[in-house]
Subunit: 448 residues, 2 copies
């Protein structure tokens, strides 16, 4: 069986919901459908989740909230009308929302989660009705009843391990199951939500729980592309890649979905397929535990700006036991995450996101000066990282030459290079101003 997840733009209105009904019913194996709250219908639109947050804030502030409530109801009413569902559907949603507000408890974070979760929850009920209306046996599943148990970190909850066993029972149901994404319940029975984008997490958990043959994640693009289409509009599609390739690519600028969201599916080795709700016939991108690969094949090239490098120079650093560890300890003390630590003999660089360093730059530089007593410390800003990713990369003679040649031919200076043992990626740091030029140059070398 397949678990199929649809994002907000795929369930934003009746037209889109009709598409997903067609998609789901086109294959009998598509048995569990995870849905988001209605998203934007057009560029200027507001997502239902954002309307719900505004409503919740109005309630918390003690303001009149009828207008905010009506804005939410209006979105569902439009869908109900266009899908020709009974008006009672909308009355039920209104009663549900008023109930959530009236039964508000003392914990404002929990209240906010309850309100946000209603977006997915009510949409799932509407969509289940829509399936039935079109003659397909379907039913809404309540995550709390089904066993989606979460930690009580409201707004940032994590799934509890026992959920998987409980949710496994869903594979025995006869109907198409419409499961609202984004939330579950704590052991105390309170609604709690995942971090935003959490419908992807719900889908991944369900796919893992029922041991789905594939987790289909429907978005609004045909596939994942080998380069950012905003930089390279004609970038080739990726048909197949591994989880590791996905991670390396997602790291620097691949925004199709949060790679962290699909961890449950990865851990249970469920293949993930990225597909387009608006063009379901396109094959999409399959993401799998292992793949066969050609040695020369590169899966993709990603890039991201906003990095900086701390550079530390100390004569005889190489002989100082614990130098690197003490440097990383300073960063850990200051709660700064870093990305890479390329090094020479008497110098060491730490590459990190500029926003990680931010206002702590002076503190960090001072601590390094005082505690490590280097000859020199400096911080270089305005760096972009480029990742050339491919499972076969490590085994092929000449991949580094191909990449560095392309950058040299384009006149791009390489600030740093990092490639570890058995790695499936090569990292280059370049100046942010060279980023697009560098992506084009690497794309030309590996994909033309």
């Amino acid at each position: 069986m397949k678990v199929v997840k649809f994002g907000g733009s795929s369930v934003a209105n009746a037209v889109q919901i009709s598409k997903i009904i067609n998609i789901v019913t086109a294959e009998a194996s598509r048995r569990i459908v995870v849905v988001s709250a209605p998203g934007k219908r057009h560029g200027e639109d507001t997502k239902v989740t954002d309307l719900l947050i505004a409503l919740a804030n109005a309630v918390l502030a003690g303001d009149d909230y009828e207008t905010a409530l009506m804005a939410v109801i209006a979105r569902y009413a439009e869908i109900q009308k266009d899908l020709e569902l009974p008006e009672a559907v909308v009355f039920t949603i209104e009663a549900d929302l008023r109930g959530r507000i009236e039964n508000r408890g003392p914990n404002d974070l929990q209240f906010m989660d309850t309100m946000k979760a209603s977006g997915e929850d009510n949409n799932a009920k509407v969509i289940a009705e829509a399936f039935i209306k079109k003659g397909h046996p379907a039913k809404y599943v309540n995550p709390c009843t089904a066993g989606m148990l979460l930690s009580d970190e409201f707004g940032n909850a994590e799934v509890l391990p026992e959920s998987f066993e409980k949710l496994a029972a869903l594979k025995n149901e006869a109907e198409i199951l419409v499961f609202p994404g984004f939330f579950g319940c704590t052991k105390a029975g309170d609604v709690a939500t995942f971090p935003r984008g959490g419908s992807d997490i719900t889908g991944a958990i369900l796919a893992a729980a029922v041991q789905a043959e594939v987790y289909e994640n429907f978005t609004d693009v045909d596939s994942v592309y080998a380069m950012d289409p905003r930089i390279v509009p004609n970038a080739p599609a990726i048909d197949l890649m591994t989880y590791r390739e996905m991670r390396e690519l997602a790291y620097a600028g691949f925004g199709v979905f949060h790679d962290e969201a699909v961890i449950p599916a990865v851990q249970h080795e469920i293949p993930i397929c990225i597909k387009n709700t608006n063009r379901p016939e396109a094959p999409g991108t399959m993401i799998v535990p292992e793949r066969k690969f050609e040695q020369t094949e590169v899966a993709g090239i990603s890039s991201a700006a906003g990095f900086c490098a701390i550079y530390i120079d100390k004569y005889m650093m190489n002989r100082e036991v614990g130098f690197g560890r003490r440097l990383l300890q300073i960063l850990e003390d200051e709660e700064i995450s870093f990305e890479h630590t390329p090094s020479g003999i008497d110098n060491m660089s730490v590459i990190l996101e500029s926003k990680e360093l931010g206002e702590k730059e002076k503190i960090v530089v001072d601590r390094i000066m005082n505690e490590l007593k280097p000859n020199d410390v400096s911080v270089a800003h305005g760096l972009a990282l480029l990742m050339v990713v491919g499972e076969g990369m490590h085994y092929a003679v000449g991949q580094a030459a191909k990449a560095t040649n392309a950058l040299a031919d384009a006149g791009v200076n390489i600030e740093m290079i990092n490639q570890g043992a058995s790695e499936i990626s090569m990292m280059f740091a370049v100046k942010e101003t060279d980023r697009k030029k560098a992506v084009h140059a690497l794309g030309g070398a590996f994909f033309s």
Copy 2:
């Protein structure tokens, strides 16, 4: 003024000593001469220092040591005869050695240092006589009287900071000063030696103390070469390089002298010149704090075998705060030095000398498995590191391309690459079996 240091092969016999007298007296600025103990006169010969160690061990073992003593005396007697010095010189040396043995104290390490130091000490006395004999005003300087104060780590002593001020007075002497290398005295007045090769250290300390215009280090090669002449016999000479280039090159296989030995000269920014006792007219290699450089210029290429890499793979490693620090902590706990830590998104490699890991491999791998819970840990053995070193390296577009192309054309797979910010070197790890091929390939690319 110049401080001039001669190694063991430059003072091994009368012919060599005559050469050094000519070298020193050829320039009036050559005022302080640091000498080693007599080294090998030919390939099969034994260094006087080794004869002295054998003598000291015989004494410590309570064995008859007359033969061992005579072997040492014989070396000086030969020099005395060939230089036509008075026989009394040899009698004095014999008396000195018998005195050191008779006055042996309770500390065997200190006794060993006293005996080893006699090699340099007596040779300095002989060489001072030789200068005088040839009509050049000269005098032997006793390091202990002159203020060469060392820590009391016998066999591995370090200079004490107050030495520099005391030794500065040497610049006021009229005669050529012959100063024995390798040893000094503790505050308690006991002879103590530097680590082996310590005459280089003595010269560097004196050059720093008297603020010499240059520290001339005479060896048996014309210069430092851009590549190991054992691998590339026609490697070009390096005329000028910086301390940083020296460090990077010395790190992997440049064996002309211990780069750590010259730290005092580096810290005081004294230029160092490597010259050949047997061809003093050759310009040698100057090593300076800063140099002008062409952007495309590479100073040298060094290589060393005997490295391994620990490779750690963990899904979502990138988001785990402190992962890198904890890995390095394990190595520090186990007293293992590492060289580089190239990394990907979800993996990290640690490159280190195989002998550092040695028998601790299983312990380290087990600790990583238990404490860091990675998906995979493996150790790759049989790696060689190559360093392409040049001050201008970082600023030039295409240097990485040139290097990686050359390796690709030679069919050498690059296992790892490491190049940090503002660095003057690029590191490549290759299989040990590819090392020579790789050096030739890089040499061809940068020096042909």
